[in-house]
């Protein structure tokens, strides 16, 4: 059983979001970088749990990024991956990134490919579906539970207003979210071991990005809160009906 877990480097959830160069670039100064939480807490940890149940499971990690992504790859390896690939390319186009992942995935014959449900920076929720299409594999999006029975996967996924349980044969692509697993902290043994685990750097295949970001904008600030006295909550209900017209 071989699992490929896709990880992405994102700004920390508390990072200040600002832009430079005439609003064409994210302002990276002072930003802490982390593994995209969905990739780490759910996709990677669930893969590690599968390996803990069955020691024949092999976990490979992949990220598409420059040398600056190596600290987060080492952290992921410290949590439990066996080896990692870094495709030496930068870019934000989901198709470009997916094409690089699909190329590595083709060579590795993986039974399972896990992604997070989306990255917390570009929020496109697209890489899983695109990789699946490029490899002509089924894709189960927004999974909250994942179990394996031989070569059949049983997955619970979110649907509007509830959840559904899906069965699929392998190979399969799954995007993971809350419920799949619990966040872990790497231990010292993992951190020491990660230093010597293989991290292979490959050059990207030639693919044209389908989209490009021209500029960024930050939302206009709120004009300020209108406070209502705690003695008169009925006034709030009146404002919501007559002024805001939302109830």
């Amino acid at each position: 059983m071989k699992i490929l877990v896709c990880i992405s480097k994102t700004p920390d959830t508390t990072a200040k979001i600002a832009f430079t160069d005439n609003n064409t670039k994210f302002a990276e100064a002072g930003v802490q970088w982390i593994i995209n939480p969905y990739d780490e807490w759910y996709a990677l940890v669930r893969a590690i749990e599968l390996k803990e149940k069955d020691s024949s499971v092999v976990i490979h990690l992949i990220t598409v990024g420059g040398p600056d992504t190596e600290p987060i790859i080492r952290k992921a390896l410290a949590l439990g991956g066996d080896e990692a690939y870094r495709v030496n390319a930068t870019g934000h186009d989901s198709f470009y990134i997916s094409s690089q992942i699909a190329e590595i995935a083709k060579q590795g014959n993986y039974d399972l490919i896990f992604t997070g449900k989306e990255t917390i920076d570009y929020n496109s929720s697209s890489v899983g579906g695109m990789v699946a299409e490029l490899l002509d594999l089924p894709f189960v999006s927004l999974a909250t539970k994942f179990d394996l029975n031989g070569t059949t996967a049983t997955i619970v996924r979110e649907i509007e207003g509830g959840e559904e349980t899906v069965e699929s044969s392998l190979p399969l692509v799954v995007s993971c979210q809350k419920g799949m697993a619990e966040q872990r902290i790497p231990n010292m043994k993992g951190i020491m071991g990660a230093r010597t685990k293989p991290l292979k750097v490959t050059e990207p295949v030639n693919v044209e990005p389908l989209t490009s970001i021209k500029t960024f904008e930050t939302p206009p600030p709120k004009s300020g809160v209108k406070l209502v006295s705690a003695d008169n909550p009925a006034e709030l209900i009146r404002l919501l009906r007559e002024e805001a017209k939302v109830i």
Binding site: P138, T144, E163
Partner: protein, 317 residues
């Protein structure tokens, strides 16, 4: 070269997000000097032709019961075929759960640039640029689509529905769908509740409620306001409320017309999931709670005193 709109359905009925994406697609078609057509998959008990009132002129309907449950792989092939047959150059989805499962596949299949999470109509004055949400609602990016074929997934509740009257021509399309590789074994829908992702009003509460036993008044307030209930991450992690109610950066991101936050301090990760809401109301006994800075209306007060009074006042409407 019409604009093709994916008309989402579930349980044989047209989904609530569908009129919104039709309005979007129709306005985009007018902007491009073309017509808006729709694609609908599965058997439907609603009046399909009446969707014309939102601006779609023709609906391509594959009325096959095997399509009642969306499968990304099967749907992608059919949508690609119909888009090719009618020569569509732009395809519009809702960026809801079905859209997220299908649009990326279609983008890869057709090599069509995808903007997922669009919040405005494209700027077509020079090229084709679409504004989308990034950094979990903390910013927008203007994304240029560089391919001839384009796909836009519109964030739910970001576009005003407009009905102008009119009826659509419904064209039956004969395609034999292939059988899906994934099989749905069971569906568990929470009956009687408004799904959070589709709710126009949301009442949400946090640790300030002190314990799960105090949610009765939150549920009652939500019921009188016809709102869905939600909670903060701390509350879901403590097991006070189910995980699917967790809104925030790592939970569900929502954009209702009204978001009422009770006993939630407003950490940046929580704000990221709700800051697209049209009107934010904050009720918190701490006047320094950061949430007040992001709020439109607020009450500094004890939830246990304020909420029962809100329920009374809302009941009196």
């Amino acid at each position: 070269m019409p604009v093709l709109i994916f008309l989402d359905q579930s349980d044989n009925t047209i989904k609530k997000t569908t009129p919104e994406v039709i309005t979007y697609g129709a306005k985009l078609a007018a902007q491009l000097g073309t017509t808006a057509e729709g694609i609908l998959l599965g058997t439907i008990s609603d009046d399909v032709a009446s969707l014309g009132k939102y601006g779609v002129t023709r609906i391509h309907h594959v009325s096959d019961p095997s399509l009642n449950h969306p499968d990304g792989q099967v749907y992608t092939k059919i949508i690609a075929k119909v888009a090719g047959d009618i020569g569509a150059k732009v395809i519009v989805f809702s960026n809801n759960l079905h859209g997220k499962a299908i649009a990326p596949r279609l983008s890869a299949r057709l090599r069509a640039g995808l903007v997922a999470g669009a919040v405005a109509l494209p700027d077509t004055s020079a090229g084709f640029t679409v504004k989308k949400n990034v950094f979990s609602g903390k910013a927008f990016a203007n994304v240029s689509v560089n391919t001839e074929m384009k796909i836009i997934s519109v964030n739910p509740n970001s576009f005003q529905v407009e009905a102008t009257g009119g009826s659509a021509e419904v064209v039956a399309v004969n395609i034999s769908p292939e059988s899906p590789k994934t099989k749905v074994v069971s569906v568990n829908k929470i009956q009687g509740e408004i799904p959070l992702s589709e709710a126009e009003r949301v009442v949400s509460a946090g640790r300030g409620l002190k314990g799960p036993e105090n949610w009765k008044m939150i549920e009652e307030l939500a019921a009188v306001l016809h709102a869905a209930t939600a909670c903060s991450r701390a509350v879901a992690d403590a097991g006070w409320r189910p995980h699917h109610e967790h809104v925030g950066q790592t939970g569900l991101a929502i954009a209702p017309n009204l978001y009422m936050a009770i006993g939630i301090s407003g950490a940046i990760q929580h704000l990221a999931g709700v800051n697209r809401s049209k009107v934010i109301v904050v009720i918190n006994k701490d006047p320094e709670a950061p949430f007040f800075k992001a709020a439109d209306y607020g009450i500094v007060g004890d939830a246990f005193e304020v909420v029962p009074k809100l329920i009374e006042a809302a009941k009196a409407l």
